[in-house]
């Protein structure tokens, strides 16, 4: 706990009651990687999980320009029948329909994803997990369902620094990956897989029956949050695919194929035009490209760690 005379430095320096009161009032300004956001919540059941999952995130003092102001609140409907829903607002506007009550945490996290994906085109944005080891970054570009987040959560608890589980943010024209560590959403069976793989991982509550199934978030390791101003240069582009029962293969691929796959993977490739082309060229030129197929998480983590440790 910080001394009473100093403002709290981190979310975890507040009590849950203080956090809840702050969220319900004007909200709390939090730094998430390169983004400064105000989070406001006027719905039940969100303060506790946020206190748990954003424990190490820096709080920001008032009176500054923020990148976004997000608000999650209860909505009551009376017709056609009484019900409660959750509404996500960004800068006062609802970008999508209301969601079921009890899903405030995933709604907030998906909402933050939406804000990043739609607004922060100062970066080339890859649909990729990013981790760092030995000063170099591993990118795991993958589409939903390929096991990216589970693999990312596993690596983050085995000596890799988490930069991101969802957005690979690249400084344009370079191969430097900008950290944006956030709670990692595990779905369905992956929840127990990570509980077993990393008993020290800190998980939030399981939110059942979302549009993506049951979801539980893994708190980003403290070191990842503390060091979120430290970018890392990309060294390995590994395109992962979890397939049940598949033997492990980590196969190097040509840079030309890596370029094609990465360009296709980037959210805002066409929007950024030649800047995106140049940035993907930088990434691929400076990195080795691989295809990874696995079913056993321990084997996949070991293979990637060996790659990083042996690749001078």
């Amino acid at each position: 706990m910080t001394p009473a005379s100093e403002p709290p430095a981190r979310v975890g320096d507040l009590t849950t009651a203080q956090l809840e009161a702050g969220l319900a009032a004007d909200g709390l300004a939090v730094r998430i990687g390169p983004f400064d956001c105000r989070i406001q919540a006027s719905c039940a059941g969100l303060a506790g999980p946020l206190h748990h999952l954003y424990h190490d995130f820096p709080l920001l003092a008032g009176g500054r320009v923020l990148h976004a102001h997000v608000h999650v609140r209860d909505v009551r409907r009376w017709l056609p029948r009484p019900s409660r829903r959750i509404r996500f607002l960004v800068d006062g506007r609802a970008p999508h329909e209301d969601m079921p009550a009890g899903q405030a945490l995933p709604v907030l996290e998906w909402g933050l994803n939406l804000v990043i994906a739609l607004r922060f085109h100062c970066y080339l944005m890859l649909h990729a997990a990013v981790l760092e080891r030995g000063g170099r970054a591993l990118l795991l570009p993958a589409w939903p369902g390929h096991g990216k987040t589970t693999l990312c959560a596993a690596l983050a608890h085995r000596g890799w620094r988490l930069l991101s589980d969802e957005f690979g943010l690249v400084r344009p024209g370079t191969r430097f990956m900008v950290p944006v560590p956030r709670p990692m959403p595990l779905k369905n069976e992956s929840i127990e897989v990570i509980r077993h793989f990393a008993p020290d991982a800190v998980l939030g509550p399981v939110v059942p029956n979302t549009r993506k199934g049951d979801i539980a978030h893994v708190r980003p390791p403290a070191d990842s949050v503390v060091r979120s101003a430290e970018p890392a240069p990309a060294a390995w582009l590994v395109f992962p695919r979890w397939i049940a029962g598949a033997p492990l293969t980590l196969e190097e691929m040509s840079k030309s194929e890596g370029f094609m796959q990465l360009a296709t993977n980037a959210f805002n490739y066409e929007l950024l035009g030649e800047t995106a082309f140049d940035t993907v060229r930088e990434l691929v030129s400076g990195s080795r490209c691989f295809r990874l197929v696995y079913s056993d998480l321990e084997q996949a983590v070991a293979a990637l760690t060996r790659l990083a440790d042996s690749d001078g």
Partner: protein, 108 residues
């Protein structure tokens, strides 16, 4: 990312002169290549294309003066040796037609 299947009917026949093309301004293109495969960014269109070595040669080394399919085949033969496939020239015409649709060569 564009396919290379031509859709134009400008292939030429006995009643129409054979089509001719010319290379576009090299300043409109940015290239990267590894292992004989090429990616090219076309600045005016804002598009990225993935092409093989032969297609890259047609786009980057074709003449600024009008050239026809036979001259294109000669360019490719000089780089890779004479073609043995009898449909080679037809394939080159089809490729050039598609490149014209994509704006990577100009009609002459």
């Amino acid at each position: 990312m564009e396919s290379t299947t031509p859709t134009s009917d400008r292939a030429g026949d006995s009643q129409h002169p054979a089509p001719r093309w010319r290379r576009i301004d090299p300043a409109d293109l940015s290239w990267v290549s590894w292992d004989g495969a090429y990616a090219v960014y076309h600045r005016p269109a804002g598009k990225t294309h993935f092409v093989n070595a032969a297609t890259a040669l047609l786009v980057s080394e074709g003449s600024r003066e009008p050239f026809d399919a036979a001259q294109a085949c000669a360019l490719l033969a000089a780089a890779d040796g004479p073609a043995t496939d009898p449909s080679f020239q037809q394939d080159v015409v089809a490729t050039l037609m598609r490149l014209e649709e994509l704006g990577l060569v100009d009609p002459a």
